[in-house]
């Protein structure tokens, strides 16, 4: 390998990329456990299909749009790397192979649209969703990743490299981006039948906990891996991730105990995710005590924020707005207060003598990504709804989307299952005639 290469850093980034990959299945379980049993599979497969679609697009043109040489003004990459041409075995990004960097960043591009799916649980056509994912990463995620993550000595993305918005691991590009898109889609698709009336409780909290456990685990790759090297900055990001998450879980649990009288499992899981979201942009610029503060604030604030949807009447089903949008904003803005200037980045926040400068930059990043993502997602969702239709029919929604869209049921636990099935099903090799049926 060429000079400047580090096997240690490379090993680290490879494994971090694998960890971030695991977050998408983790998210699938987190979301899948939270829906009612009749839409479990749809929820799972909305995340898994993002793995499939985005990976292929990334190789075809996504990497080039996000990390190709800047096409002008820091807005988007050019087409130099179409089909990954010119990326050879020995090419480096910093101290690691380009392939390692490309793999790591790909996993971010995959999970971001998957996050959106939680806002439209139980009611989106699978084909429409797949189309949305393909278009959304193309016109929203790839450009925004360029703005935030592409560094080229001041000639890179306009938010991060040119304007000094600090986003260590994706508070804006990933979480605000997905959260704003989730809000847009929740508005476009409308409320579920029974919203506000039916509690629609999680069908499997152990599945939710599995999801949150895998997310937490994978998030070390997400945050510490964003140092792109196994060094002290990564170490600080690692510890900050752990303690902010811990603090946020405590914050959420305390909030709900006081407000509703119980410490819930779902609260523990949601609090942890809220903490992970909030520390994402900040983990490379705050101290561990700062991380605890950010965590507690995010945990309690997101716990409060999830009731907004009842107040304003939008059905953000699994709280993508309450957790990712709100958590992402909190984390991004708090950098303006808590950045020490001594961790990974040199800018200082208000509490460390840096004045309001960094806070202003952070606000810029937040507003730009929020507005861009919301507007384009709304337009895209509306276009799909008006053409091929985005929402399933009322009958399908009542009977359950798993059956209608995927011809499957999540579970068959019946002790007599096999016998019942044997007795009462008839194998057919051609699609069954579409006669009047009772579902």
């Amino acid at each position: 390998m060429p000079d400047g290469f580090s096997a240690g850093d490379t090993a680290f980034v490879f494994i971090c990329a694998a960890l971030v990959m695991l977050m998408t299945p983790g998210l699938a379980f987190f979301y899948g456990g939270m829906v009612r049993v009749k839409s479990t599979l749809n929820m799972l497969v909305m995340s898994f299909v993002s793995l499939a679609i985005v990976s292929v697009l990334w190789v075809l043109y996504g990497y080039s749009l996000s990390f190709g040489p800047d096409a002008g003004a820091g807005l988007i990459g050019n087409l130099d790397y179409l089909g990954m041409r010119g990326i050879d075995l020995n090419a480096l990004t910093g101290t690691i192979p380009v392939t390692a960097f490309a793999a790591f960043q790909l996993m971010f591009a995959i999970i971001t649209p998957a996050l959106i799916s939680g806002a439209i649980a139980d009611r989106a056509k699978f084909t429409a969703w797949s189309l949305f994912v393909a278009l959304w990463v193309t016109i929203v995620y790839f450009p925004v990743a360029h703005w935030v993550f592409f560094f080229d000595g001041g000639n890179g993305g306009w938010l991060g490299d040119r304007n000094g918005v600090i986003d260590f691991a994706g508070g804006t590009a990933v979480h605000i981006n997905a959260g704003a898109a989730g809000l847009a889609l929740a508005l476009v698709l409308g409320k579920r039948i029974g919203f506000k009336k039916d509690p629609m409780r999680p069908h499997s909290l152990p599945l939710v906990m599995l999801g949150s456990g895998l997310l937490w685990f994978g998030w070390f790759g997400f945050n510490a891996g964003s140092a792109l090297a196994a060094n002290g900055v990564a170490g600080m990001a690692f510890m900050n991730t752990q303690v902010a998450t811990a603090a946020a879980m405590l914050g959420w649990l305390a909030y709900e105990k006081i407000k509703h009288g119980a410490f819930t499992t779902l609260g523990a899981a949601s609090g942890a995710v809220a903490g992970l979201v909030a520390i994402t942009p900040a983990c490379g610029s705050v101290s561990m005590l700062g991380a605890i503060a950010i965590g507690v604030i995010a945990g309690a604030a997101c716990a409060a924020a999830i009731s907004l949807k009842y107040k304003f009447g939008f059905d953000d089903s699994l709280d993508v707005v309450g957790v990712h949008l709100v958590g992402g904003i909190i984390g991004s803005l708090l950098i303006g207060f808590f950045a020490t200037g001594h961790v990974g980045q040199t800018a200082s926040g208000l509490f460390y003598g840096g004045g309001f400068t960094q806070l202003g930059k952070q606000a810029l990043g937040v507003v730009v990504v929020l507005v861009y993502s919301f507007v384009l997602s709304w337009l895209l969702g509306t276009a799909i709804q008006k053409t091929i239709g985005f929402r399933v029919s009322e009958d399908v929604e009542v009977a359950g989307i798993d059956q209608a869209e995927h011809a499957e049921s999540a579970y068959d636990f019946s002790a007599v299952g096999a016998s019942l099935a044997r007795a009462l099903s008839t194998p057919v090799t051609v699609p069954a005639e579409k006669t009047e049926v009772d579902a």
Binding site: E408, S409, S425, T426, D438
Partner: protein, 112 residues
């Protein structure tokens, strides 16, 4: 006394319960069931083969009532459960000899 049993579409339970409440009946016992009738089930694909599953989820409700209320109650349930589509289910009534409230030992109508 009578025991009214209703096998209905799960998502009509809502309406049935409200109708019963309005009628003045406050207790019922529910079991999950599956039904097979002239309605058809759904199609599932598994490993390159398609299957028609004819068994369809139903809710089975039992309500103990006074003899006098029985006929009317049946009508109430039937009306509330109806969607007009195939598979709406059945309601039937059988005579009851005795009914007891476990907590108090009260018998007959008082037990309800």
């Amino acid at each position: 006394m009578k025991l009214i049993t209703a096998v209905i579409k799960p998502h009509r339970l809502d309406e049935v319960k409200e109708a019963l409440q309005a009628f003045g009946v406050h207790g019922l016992t529910v079991t999950e069931a599956s039904g097979y009738g002239r309605q058809r089930g759904h199609t599932e694909v598994y490993r390159g083969a398609e299957y028609t599953v004819d068994l369809v989820p139903k809710v089975r409700i039992e309500i103990l009532v006074d003899d006098d209320d029985a006929e009317q109650l049946i009508d109430v349930v039937v009306k509330a459960a109806r969607t007009g589509k195939i598979g709406d289910g059945k309601v039937w009534s059988v005579p009851v000899d005795t009914a007891v409230r476990v907590r108090t030992g009260e018998r007959g109508p008082d037990a309800l």
